[in-house]
């Protein structure tokens, strides 16, 4: 899948960051507005796929020098860890906690352990999607 289309590559780079930011926005919005770990993860993966299409696998691997299989593990660890963490506080498995804080500039902000769990989902989804697409792509 080699291409020398400069316009496409340049556009892809710009769009990539736009998608990434949108994905991260969706992820953080998840608790209040449509979005969340799944969509965020998928969109992020989609953005990377876009780069894959514009450049080739080797270039992208150079840009993202991480093994996506590790990302799956890290994500699972986050999610299961958040769920298990509640045991330390002597509450049932999977009990989430949240609180509101007043931060300068941001104003009233809430912090959720559910967010950590969702972060795990986010990582897993990116990891899974990228692992699948990368392995299929590499096998060509």
């Amino acid at each position: 899948m080699k291409t020398n289309d400069v316009i496409f590559q340049t556009v892809a780079k710009v769009v990539f960051f736009m998608i990434i930011f949108f994905a991260i926005h969706l992820f953080f919005a998840g608790h209040y507005y449509p979005g969340g770990g799944f969509v965020g993860g998928l969109l992020t993966a989609g953005a990377i796929v876009l780069l894959l299409l514009a450049f080739d696998i080797k270039t992208v691997q150079h840009g993202f020098p991480l093994d996506f299989k590790w990302l799956i593990g890290i994500g699972l660890l986050f999610s299961a860890g958040t769920a298990t963490g509640s045991l330390i506080f002597n509450v049932p498995f999977f009990t989430h906690a949240y609180n509101y804080f007043h931060l300068p500039l941001f104003g009233k902000t809430s912090l959720h352990t559910a967010m950590l769990f969702d972060l795990g989902v986010y990582f897993v989804v990116i990891g899974v999607t990228m692992t699948i697409i990368q392995t299929i792509g590499e096998s060509e």
Binding site: Y32, Y33, P34, F38, V125, V128, I132, I136
Partner: protein
């Protein structure tokens, strides 16, 4: 509307089953994809359609649509993506190794011949 959607889901199911029963691997995979679409629509219909605003409290609506089927479907969508991916890879590996996508030839019972 719900009745109509039930019929649509039924049609999707019928088409999916028809595809799954055929001999060609790719058609079977496409069949499973259709089957999950049908299931999702059916699930959504079961929660009642257009009974209120989107299930986001920020809408400050008097009534919301049922969030539970939506949560279930969201899970199902992602899972069916995983399933489709596995199927696809199995199909393409099987085709690569065995050189056929005819399910009748993929029986793997050469000892019985």
């Amino acid at each position: 509307m719900e009745i109509l959607m039930c019929i649509v889901a039924g049609l999707l199911f019928a088409a999916a089953v028809y595809l799954m029963l055929s001999k060609s691997l790719l058609r079977i995979i496409i069949g499973t994809g259709l089957l999950s679409h049908g299931t999702h629509l059916m699930l959504l219909t079961m929660g009642g359609l257009k009974t209120g605003a989107a299930p986001v409290l920020g809408e400050h609506a008097a009534a919301y649509t049922d969030p539970i089927p939506q949560a279930l479907i969201l899970t199902a969508i992602v899972i069916s993506f995983g399933v489709t991916a596995v199927f696809l890879v199995i199909a393409y590996r099987a085709y690569q190794e065995l050189g056929t996508d005819n399910m009748e030839q993929l029986r793997g019972m050469e000892t019985d011949d």
